[in-house]
Symmetry: C2
Subunit: 318 residues, 2 copies
């Protein structure tokens, strides 16, 4: 018993129950039904939930010093990732990192690792919808927002919510082999390996169109199915192409062409989900001009094909 | 507020934290990040966790009478599905059913609905590894063990563990449309629609080969790659085909041919997961005689093709 791998799980104010439950299920006591799938007297991991008394959770909470002493530290997501964190948690994580402990962040847990100062030089991921906040807060940490999870050696991170299952299965595979991870996947009824990454689940987060270009952007959205170039938009807006290019980047953070492609992919996604149009019809309706162009841009930004996307996000009979 | 749809969730001794967390996430308060994906002032559901004080869980527990009064009753899985249940829970479920409430069981929660006596004439599913127990306990309830979830009108049931997410997304789609369910799926980073059903996650649960045929079964397992017919096995075992057929069914519950096919599919699965053999080589090694025969039987029993199965359960570099 004493030499089981110790997994310390940080339970903070606002910890996401679902992330926490995934980690507890992957590493903690096996439910009775698991023994039918794989005879195993006990989990190869010994888990400890660490946090301050009073944080509502399932299971007893132990002091943060036990987090600092764990072989693997797991930090589940928290509801408000930008909120100030208890210095005791950040300290425990830093001590564990110093000792060489493996560090796992789930979903917004990457922010907590960031505030603990242990992500320097590391590559991580987090919930796709938090990517902009993460980059703003930790400009020197490499963010792989398209990945379901990232294994960067000492630091491992998963994307949003149930991507935690993908990361935990990856850790079980690393520690105990593919067959072991497959059996846990059979218990969870969740695939041991998902294709296509996190980006197929993302969508453009609409920010209100403000700034002086707002009317131009509105007009572009209404004419996405037409050819939109710097030149044609500048003509519509009565600006020089140079002025438009400069102001476009200043106000949207993107080039005009990148912005147009992003919006066209988003339009294509909506039509794949909600319409009965064929992929070719959608290519034209979204302004791609050809099916090939749609496929190429869709794959680049979503990690999957238009057809596979539709199969996942649209049911024939709703 | 008062007219939000009320979801009552039964929290019992041994309730699976993961199932509970999925239901809470799908129906309960939306995390801050959800508002970026979909502006929504509050969840359209009002959830209540109902259970006896002292059951460890997250969130306040309310009396079972509130479960009886809910519009939708959710029963998450429990660690020991065959354990005796608190009569108060069973009564509350029966009262809710009588009132016409929608009933959702997650994983082993189907057993609790069964003991509450509300499954008569219904079609449900449960964790694939509990299928035999379920059939033995509730012989008159139709069990669709291959399905990730079943929507049978008033009663809806999901298979093992994370199939709960599939069912909850289905309910969101039914109640609030595909676009709503898709946005929840983007929050969860979990597909709104999975193909292939639950059976691709299952495997043959090995029971010790006991009974007088044990040596024969052992011999068959060692010769799966050879033609195995009632006649050839009977010759090996020095029995008449009629005696063998009768004893085979009595001891295994299956015909000899069904048993052989099941074991061959299992052998093919193992080789797809663990070997570098081609699908054709695996077809022969598992005794199918042809790739076509492997494909047909594999699809029938796993709901997926050998190639797709390998892509999910085997990573090139473990």
């Amino acid at each position: 018993m004493a030499d089981r791998h110790r997994v310390g799980i940080a339970v903070l104010g606002g910890t996401t129950a679902l992330d926490l439950a995934v980690a507890v299920q992957a590493f903690g006591r096996r439910p009775a039904v698991f023994h039918r799938i794989r005879p195993e007297p006990e989990s190869p991991y010994e888990i400890t939930l660490c946090g301050r008394a009073g944080v509502p959770t399932f299971g007893e909470l132990r002091p943060m010093s036990e987090l600092a002493a764990a072989d693997t530290v797991v930090v589940p997501g928290v509801d408000d990732p930008l909120a100030a964190r208890d210095p005791e948690v950040l300290e425990a994580i830093a001590v564990a990192a110093e000792r060489g402990a493996r560090l796992l962040s789930l979903c917004a847990g990457a922010f907590v690792l960031g505030y603990a100062g242990v992500l320097h030089g590391h590559r991580v991921t987090t919930h796709w919808a938090l990517a902009d906040d993460f980059r703003a807060e930790f400009p020197r940490v490499e963010l792989a927002e398209h990945e379901l999870y990232v294994d960067d050696g000492q630091v491992l991170a998963s994307g949003g919510m149930l991507a935690a299952a993908d990361l935990c299965l990856h850790v079980l595979r690393t520690d105990h082999g593919q067959a072991y991870a497959n059996d846990m996947s059979r218990l969870l009824v969740s695939p041991p390996h998902r294709t296509g990454g996190q980006s197929q689940y993302s969508k453009v987060i609409d920010r209100p169109l403000t700034g002086s270009l707002a009317p131009v952007l509105e007009w572009m959205l209404a004419h996405l199915d037409e050819p939109l170039t710097l030149r044609s938009v500048a003509a519509h807006a009565h600006m020089s192409t140079r002025t438009l290019a400069r102001r476009f980047r200043a106000e949207t953070g993107q080039s005009l062409l990148d912005w147009v492609v992003m919006r066209r992919v988003e339009r294509a996604r909506e039509l794949l989900e909600e319409s009965d149009l064929t992929v070719t019809q959608i290519a034209y309706a979204a302004g791609f001009g050809s099916t090939e162009s749609l496929r190429r841009h869709f794959l680049l930004s979503s990690g999957t094909s238009p057809g596979a996307y539709r199969a996942t996000f649209r049911l024939a009979a709703g």
